[in-house]
Symmetry: C2
Subunit: 412 residues, 2 copies
């Protein structure tokens, strides 16, 4: 057994921009080699290089406008096969022993739902054998295999999910997600210059941020982390001196009774069905056909009814607005509603923090802040630790900056 076979076990993940070309792959290899030299055992999960996925989609669409998901998954899987073997070669070039494994070889067993498979189980024997032999293990992210040995891909957030799930299965000391930003920010630094990376954040808070627009990490991977208690560090693969953000249990080192971050989304459409008879089953009659049409509905609000008639309002991504409108209009006679109106130029702003569940006054301060900045609230939805306001899309940036300031997020 190699001398460092008992060192801490770390699962790392490098995204597509971190392995976009030979130079960056060599840079990532040198970072991994340094850690391995320090005694850590490393499993590194990689995404496909840069624009590989777009190139493969382009190839498929030269052949057919509707590729079958099974074939598409096999095609996509070549992207990570290329990046993982190249990273392994780069480690060899640096004199380190390393081996690349496909999702199948790494033991990642999924269901057979091509394009958005769920991990069923991870058989860690091969990875453990390679680690015990003193090797750095490179795993192709985003992919797995069904019981039938068909290649599957995990859909959005796939490589992050591979990394966190592997960390859970291997009982790794931690999982490190390397990306092109320095961690989880208090708000999107592109629209809020005062935003700063958080030192740590709880799973629940991260889930709410991810669900409402903070795209650094996909909610799915965070859920797996929360379920198995995997400590996840999100950090930059380019700036090695930035500490990154640690996602872990709720007890934060920063104060708990605070808003932790502001998330936002753009391109939201609001659909309002007017004059809906307020009778049982009406919501099912409306939303079942929308789900069947593949329209993903976010916030739903039903006004108090007046003379047994109510308004139902829901939001969808702007890209789904036309389809949502079409389905809803076709339902009008059946649900005996009077009309449908749509507003497609909206966005959202959310404040998130576990402290909100125990301390009052966050909602009032949020609404007052928006009012003072002349920002009208079109719709409100809340969870235990989040308040989301739908606002005009053009005012989303102002709203984020105003709330960042109002909740003192520029200060530790």
């Amino acid at each position: 057994m190699a001398p460092d076979a008992a060192g801490p076990l770390v699962v790392q993940k490098y995204g597509g921009s971190s392995v976009a070309d030979a130079g960056r792959i060599t840079h990532v290899a040198s970072r991994i080699a340094e850690r391995a030299a320090g005694g850590e055992r490393i499993v590194a999960v990689v995404s496909a290089m840069g624009d590989t996925t777009d190139r493969l989609i382009g190839l498929a669409h030269e052949i057919t406008s509707a590729p079958r998901p099974r074939e598409m998954d096999m095609l996509f899987s070549t992207g990570e096969a290329v990046s993982s073997t190249l990273l392994s070669m780069a480690l060899h070039e640096l004199g380190r022993d390393a081996i690349s494994l496909s999702g199948m070889q790494a033991g990642i067993r999924t269901d057979a739902v091509f394009g958005r498979a769920r991990i069923a189980d991870i058989e860690t024997a091969r990875i453990e054998r390679e680690l015990a032999a003193g090797r750095i293990v490179i795993v192709a992210g985003f992919q797995g295999a069904s019981d039938d040995f068909d290649i599957t891909t995990l859909g959005r957030g796939g490589s992050d999910t591979t990394a966190v799930a592997l960390a859970a299965a291997l009982r790794a000391d931690r999982c490190e997600i390397y990306t092109d930003v320095a961690g989880i920010y208090t708000a999107d630094p592109r629209i809020c210059p005062e935003a700063r990376p958080l030192r740590d954040i709880g799973y629940e808070e991260m889930l709410e941020l991810a669900a409402t627009g903070a795209r650094v990490m996909h909610a799915r991977a965070v859920e797996v982390g929360a379920l198995y208690g995997v400590r996840i560090l999100v950090a930059s693969s380019f700036e090695s001196d930035a500490p990154g953000t640690l996602i872990h249990e709720e007890s934060t080192m920063e104060q708990a009774d605070k808003v932790r971050g502001i998330a936002h989304e753009q391109a939201i459409a609001k659909i309002t069905v007017r004059g809906v008879p307020d009778r049982p089953g009406i919501a099912a009659q409306l939303f079942t056909p929308l789900a069947e049409a593949g329209v993903s509905v976010d916030t739903i609000v039903q006004n108090a009814s007046i003379e047994n008639l109510t308004d139902m309002t829901f939001t969808v991504e702007r890209g789904d607005a036309d389809e949502a409108l079409r389905v809803t209009e076709a339902l009008l006679p059946q649900i005996e509603a009077s009309e449908v109106v749509a507003d497609a130029d909206l966005g959202s702003v959310s404040i998130v923090g576990t402290g909100m569940s125990t301390s009052p006054g966050f909602a009032a301060r949020m609404f007052r802040t928006l009012f003072e900045h002349g920002i009208n609230i079109e719709l409100i939805s809340t969870s235990e630790i989040r308040i989301t306001c739908i606002v005009r899309e053009a005012q989303v940036g102002d709203a984020v900056r105003a709330l960042h300031d109002a909740f003192d997020l520029d200060r530790e």
Copy 2:
């Protein structure tokens, strides 16, 4: 079970130029779809698209000058994964049910000699299940998997070997190798305009032709075909009206006591060791170090000894000449030979035909023909069904044309 599940079973192979772009892939798909519509069950083996392999080698060499074969095989295997999934998609687009399988999924088990693995066994269960479901099966050529589920590649002639081995394992009615030429020619048509495609040829003859320069099909795939009695049709994927050449048992439909083809090679070097003491073991002393240095020796000729001293002459590819010379010169003191001379501007011309084993006079006619055309013979080697002459490289073309004419190969 699909209605055509009991039709004839045909394994086809399409090379890299046949699937070089989306248009050609769609063309191949339409050819396959037509055959399937006629009731045949089709398993199609594909190579990587056009220049994919060169592109992947280029990527690896941006990272390291000496990629490990295991990683290189995994990287290479992505080439056929792309072409096989795209061909499957093209069949779907034409309304046919099809499925792509990697070498591993197709059950191709190999040893773990990366870069030039040998097929150990083919587990046909998955392919048979897909065929029984009425699907066209597309198999990624050139690749397999070791017992450890590592991806291997089969080396030179790999996709042809995949196809012929699959045909043997599936007891297919025949194997069809589609390439960019119209079949096996009586000589290389690029240097002999009178050359014509043979209607059929025996396994042994094809093996001799392949070994001495007819590069349409690799000897290795022919060997598998001979071993399992697989009837192999070599034909063009571009000209669908050309009948191609059938490789099968010796009994040919054309007359047997004839030269069947002229093969040639260029860039041959001849190394002569002069004044070698004629004692037992001297050949081993010379050729063992050459083999250890990776030099592949072709023809070896030892002259009759004069006063217990002999000359030993052997040929190598020109690319190996410097290394062969270096190794041999270093051995001179040890084997007590007087000197080494090299001649690197040679080529070969061979006549092949099973009839030669029973009818005399072929060698004489060959030597006379070359003499009449002013072509000096530097070295001769023969097998049961082949005579090869080493000649000046500049005269190879003349030699091929003269022999093609002398043995009436322009006539059926």
